[in-house]
């Protein structure tokens, strides 16, 4: 039994009820934050307003740098509240080191719990001491971190992504693993798993004066007439892209990164005019690095775009596969679908895309 100072919670005990576990710890966080008069920051991401309530301050440096563009300074009513706590700083009960529930379910294999009809959902990485708990019936969650020391680089680039996803489900917007770029008149959504060229083409777009709402995750509202909204102020480059866009990489927030770790770059710092609040989306393309001299854009089936969009989104969000599929399908019904075979030179690819978009707009 570990005292939080407010509510005694049994931690580390074998629990048979994920629902109860989730609700208990969210309540504990609520009470702790209230008792210690923690700081609250409101952010707006598309239609969703989230109140991030910090217990302690260590997680501010993890969460806020890539969400500062979205901070709401005036009065606003939050749709979702997320409590953020790093336990080593605050003495809040630590998350379990091992999955504390029965292991014999597919969800347990994924380290998730998904009960949105009643409310409680979670996604965990107990090997790194990072747990995301949420009660969708109340739209209150807990970003529960053992320590901020040694957090993987992707947490700094996309903290709270699960809570943002869960909150977005309640306001008819989606979080999708894709990039969105615009030549000023038409917006292209570029979908594909890691390594498909989304970040490379986005970096080329930014250098060329195009606009973007993101290279990795974007918010999409109104799938019938889709609009993308910026989410995380971060561009991630690695390998050849890091070399090609060296001036971006030189501004990385993680200069001491390990080999193989992506360079995390603030878009608003690298190209302030590029990173815009929202863009209309008029076409969706599945991206593929062809390594050919010339880039091509060819028609694609809905199945191709489902393959480009749904698996990578679902593997990163880890829950709500049915909702991701439904939302993506609605989007694909309303957008023309193409495959973007990106050649060796992303700037040449951008020229091809520009001509294509102008032709589409006729």
């Amino acid at each position: 039994m570990v005292e939080t100072g407010v509510v005694a919670i049994e931690v580390g005990q074998q629990s048979t009820s994920p629902d109860e576990f989730i609700r208990q710890h969210i309540v504990a966080a609520e009470q702790t934050w209230t008792a210690h008069e923690g700081r609250e920051v409101l952010v707006q991401l598309g239609r969703l307003v989230i109140a991030v309530r910090f217990i302690g301050s260590d997680l501010e440096d993890v969460i806020l740098p890539v969400l500062r563009h979205a901070v709401v300074t005036g009065p606003a009513s939050p749709d979702t509240v997320v409590y953020a706590v790093a336990c080593d700083e605050t003495g809040f009960a630590e998350p379990p080191d091992e999955w504390p529930f029965p292991l014999d379910t597919p969800a347990a294999q994924l380290r998730t719990h998904w009960n949105p009809d009643d409310g409680p959902v979670l996604s965990s990485d107990e090997s790194r001491g990072i747990w995301h708990l949420h009660d969708m019936s109340r739209q209150v969650g807990l970003y529960w971190v053992k320590t901020t020391r040694g957090l993987p680089y992707w947490e700094h680039g996309s903290a709270l992504r699960h809570h943002i996803f869960w909150g977005s489900l309640a306001c008819n917007q989606g979080i999708l693993h894709s990039a969105v770029i615009s030549n000023g008149r038409h917006g292209a959504m570029i979908a594909g798993p890691g390594g498909s060229g989304k970040s490379t083409i986005t970096a080329a777009a930014m250098q060329s004066g195009w606009r973007t709402t993101g290279d990795d995750f974007v918010v999409i509202s109104n799938p019938q007439h889709p609009v993308s909204h910026r989410l995380f102020d971060v561009l991630k480059l690695t390998g050849m892209a890091e070399e090609m866009f060296g001036e971006f990489a030189a501004q990385a927030m993680n200069p001491g990164r390990a080999e193989g770790e992506k360079a995390i770059i603030r878009m608003s710092g690298a190209c302030p005019d590029s990173f815009v609040e929202s863009l209309p989306v008029t076409v969706i393309l599945s991206a593929r690095l062809s390594h050919e001299p010339k880039s091509r854009i060819v028609p694609a089936s809905r199945l191709q775009l489902v393959r480009a969009l749904v698996p990578s989104t679902a593997s990163l969000m880890r829950t709500g596969l049915e909702d991701i599929f439904a939302f993506s399908s609605e989007l694909l019904r309303n957008l023309p679908c193409f495959e973007f075979q990106i050649g060796k030179n992303p700037f040449e690819g951008l020229e091809v895309l520009d001509a294509f978009l102008k032709d589409q707009g006729k």
Partner: protein
């Protein structure tokens, strides 16, 4: 008589103007469909027997039963192996067999199910969780000795 029905708790599908795409939530696999597979899939939205499926396909495409029956049986076996079907000995009172209007003007082609396991593969490559190089991910707790 055995009636077959898609298990909507496990699988969801979208019809994009004749292009059918489905997702199996329990396995993370998703499916594309070729030939008359999308017609069979539509018929399985309500309890239907294999014979009724065969008859329905023959009506849509004007083909002989013998050409279709074996292909339908193979397709149904694949769906069974993907664990997306419910089998029941009863059809609800006043229930009607599922139907499909087919895509006009197309010749009959045997149903084919394209199976994609990209999501499963991505999860196994998942960098978010630490994977044991020998056991893969997720790690299982070992049974206690004795």
């Amino acid at each position: 008589m055995t009636y077959l029905l898609l298990d909507e708790h496990k699988v969801s599908s979208e019809d994009f103007d004749g292009e059918m795409v489905a997702v199996n939530f329990s396995t993370g696999k998703y499916y594309g469909m070729k030939g008359c597979a999308h017609d069979v899939w539509r018929m399985l939205a309500t309890p239907v027997s294999a014979d009724e499926i065969t008859s329905g396909i023959c009506d849509i495409y004007g083909t002989e039963n013998t050409a279709v029956q074996d292909a339908i049986a193979v397709f149904i076996d694949i769906l069974r192996s993907e664990d997306v079907l419910i089998e029941t000995g009863e059809r609800p009172a006043n229930g009607k067999a599922g139907s499909s209007t087919g895509l006009s003007g197309l010749a009959y082609e045997a149903p084919e199910l394209e199976i994609y396991s990209d999501l499963q593969e991505l999860i196994m490559l998942d960098p978010v969780h630490e994977a044991d190089p020998e056991q893969g991910w997720p790690l299982r707790r070992l049974p206690e000795d004795g």
